[in-house]
């Protein structure tokens, strides 16, 4: 019996140790530190909920949380709308539809940091050139105001992730029973009716997956935020992930940064689990 167990632990140990060292131990330590006056090297006393109370008086954090929520809602809706439209387009039978998939998907292979830099060039240089050409001064100095910075991030996110969301919708669209669609067509359903009453219910699981993906990608966004606006102007486009980083490594307030990180975890876990629960429930109803 003993010999039987030993192989089991031998197979699991290496990666389980990695998980414990890299995620579980830091998670437990992090929760503990958030209740202390930890400065990155040592913690001398417990401070109870003082760090958590401080968070709610930290205007920078509240602003970044609010910005992240607004950004996530807008980009989740846009990315899914565009992604689904792209999927419906490229699943039509015409020459070149596979080439289109390749193009739409391409941004997802490149890191958010690099994409943010490319778009920084576009917003700063190309947009102002277009502004000069057509005489629209409002196209100048994008990224220099909070509003245009917001839309800059939304455009970047939608451009990058729509292709990813598209391939997931495609997977479900192609798995659909074509006979149902043909039957509906013969019965005289028009293109909108076929979409709303046949396609949408059949690909309901795709909504669950894609909402989850876009939600977690937009909520946790960091690289694109850093390279496109770096939080500017005056931290008005700073998202939560960047606020945590700057609190800990910029201002060296480790315990406060860690308390924010714990709040971040709780918010993401709560929102994601609620979303999956409700989407699964709706799948049945659609």
């Amino acid at each position: 019996m003993k010999r039987k167990n030993s192989w089991f632990y031998f197979f699991i140990a290496p990666i389980f140790i990695a998980l414990v060292m890299v995620i579980i131990v830091p998670l437990i330590l992090g929760i503990y530190y958030s209740f202390t006056n930890w400065n990155g090297i040592q913690s001398t006393k417990m401070v109870g909920f003082a760090n958590y109370v401080a968070i709610f008086h930290d205007k920078g954090f509240i602003d970044s949380l609010w910005f992240t929520v607004k950004f996530s809602i807008v980009s989740i809706v846009l990315t899914n709308l565009i992604g689904l439209s792209l999927a419906l387009i490229v699943t039509q039978k015409f020459k070149g539809n596979h080439f289109l998939r390749t193009v739409f998907f391409m941004p997802n292979l490149i890191g958010g940091l690099i994409l943010g830099f490319i778009w920084q060039f576009i917003f700063i240089k190309a947009f102002s050139s277009v502004g000069d050409l057509i005489g629209m001064a409002s196209l100048k100095d994008w990224l220099a105001t909070p509003d245009t910075g917001f839309w800059g991030l939304v455009i970047l996110m939608s451009w990058q992730y729509s292709g990813y969301i598209m391939v997931i919708y495609i997977a479900y669209l192609e798995g659909m029973d074509r006979e149902l669609l043909e039957a509906a067509e013969i019965d005289g359903a028009n293109i909108w009716q076929r979409f709303r009453h046949i396609i949408v219910p059949l690909i309901a699981p795709a909504f669950t997956v894609n909402l989850f993906l876009t939600l977690s990608n937009s909520f946790k966004m960091y690289d694109q935020n850093l390279s496109l606006t770096a939080g500017g102007p005056y931290n008005s486009t700073q998202m939560v992930a960047m606020n945590i980083f700057n609190t800990a490594f910029g201002q060296n307030q480790m315990a406060l940064g860690q308390a924010k990180a714990v709040v971040f975890f709780v918010v993401i876990a709560a929102v994601s689990l609620t979303q999956v629960y409700y989407s699964k429930k709706r799948e049945v109803e659609l």
Binding site: L27, I114, F121, I122
Partner: protein
């Protein structure tokens, strides 16, 4: 039948128009990387009037391109190799033992997916710093930890569909568990191994935040870390920066060109399951 064809043409037309919009950022990057600094200022949208490739050698030098490319390759290849070896082994052990402890361990791996990187980032860096592990080996070990959940989940799914009778046959022929796994089971998992490889490679190759915290010694930087060279200063050298960005993207586009079907399939599988 006729109206159906009209719809199709409309869809195709919109599709190709959008594809042009999607490519525009890449076009702007590429065309401006062949312009002089002065010309970008005057003509950011059109093709270069006077084509110059001079930006590339300078950008290469400033990025220390070959070394940072090699650094990225070393870290990506080593990390995905250990992820594949250890996650497939662990998934096999978890599927083939019907004990309580295996389902508990599997649940821990899955639950860990919900934890955002920022939540563990600060203590992680302090623990690994204290252990003097803020180097490339430490980085690979961290990737093993962060990549473990999804990889084990994916392998777990495909090992479940392999019949136990295959294991039993191998065991009767005298294989031990180690041999059974590596000679009989692992080869059958090849399609899933390709998926796990692609998913982790795309993420690790492009990762910026973790290496920026872990790699501190000059000469060890990966490509994303080096990219800040062009964006750190106040006056931007756009002509060099765009050449640098183009250089960093070329390897990805080349791989994508040759393996696009597998890549798209792999990345879809990773999220749908």
């Amino acid at each position: 039948m006729k109206s159906r064809n009209n719809w199709r043409y409309l869809f195709a037309g919109i599709g190709f128009f959008l594809a042009i919009v999607w490519i525009l950022p890449f076009y702007l990057m590429l065309s401006n990387s062949f312009k002089t600094k002065a010309e970008i200022f005057l003509n950011a949208l059109g093709l270069p009037h006077r084509f110059t490739a001079e930006n590339y050698p300078t950008a290469m030098q400033q990025l220390d391109f070959f070394r940072s490319f090699l650094n990225s390759i070393i870290i990506t290849v080593c990390s995905i190799t250990i992820i594949i070896i250890f996650s497939s082994m662990a998934a096999y052990a978890l599927v083939r033992t019907k004990r309580k402890v295996s389902s508990v361990i599997f649940m821990i791996f899955i639950a860990a997916m919900l934890i955002p990187f920022q939540t563990v980032m600060i203590p992680l860096i302090s623990v690994f710093g204290a252990a003097e592990m803020l180097n490339r080996v430490g980085l690979m070990f961290m990737y093993l930890g962060f990549g473990s959940s999804l990889s084990i989940f994916l392998y777990h799914g495909s090992i479940k569909s392999i019949s136990v009778s295959l294991d039993e046959a191998a065991r009767i022929d005298g294989c031990n568990r180690w041999q059974t796994f590596w000679y009989v089971i692992f080869p059958i998992l090849k399609p899933m191994t390709v998926t796990v490889m692609i998913l982790n490679a795309v993420w690790i190759w492009n990762d910026y935040l973790l290496p920026s915290l872990v790699i501190n010694s000059p000469g060890k930087e990966t490509i994303p870390l080096k990219m800040f060279f062009f964006f750190g200063e106040y006056t931007k050298q756009w002509h060099l920066a765009l050449a640098g960005l183009t250089l960093s993207i070329i390897p990805i586009i080349l791989v994508y060109f040759f393996a696009q079907r597998q890549i798209i399939k792999g990345m879809t599988q990773g999220s749908v399951k």
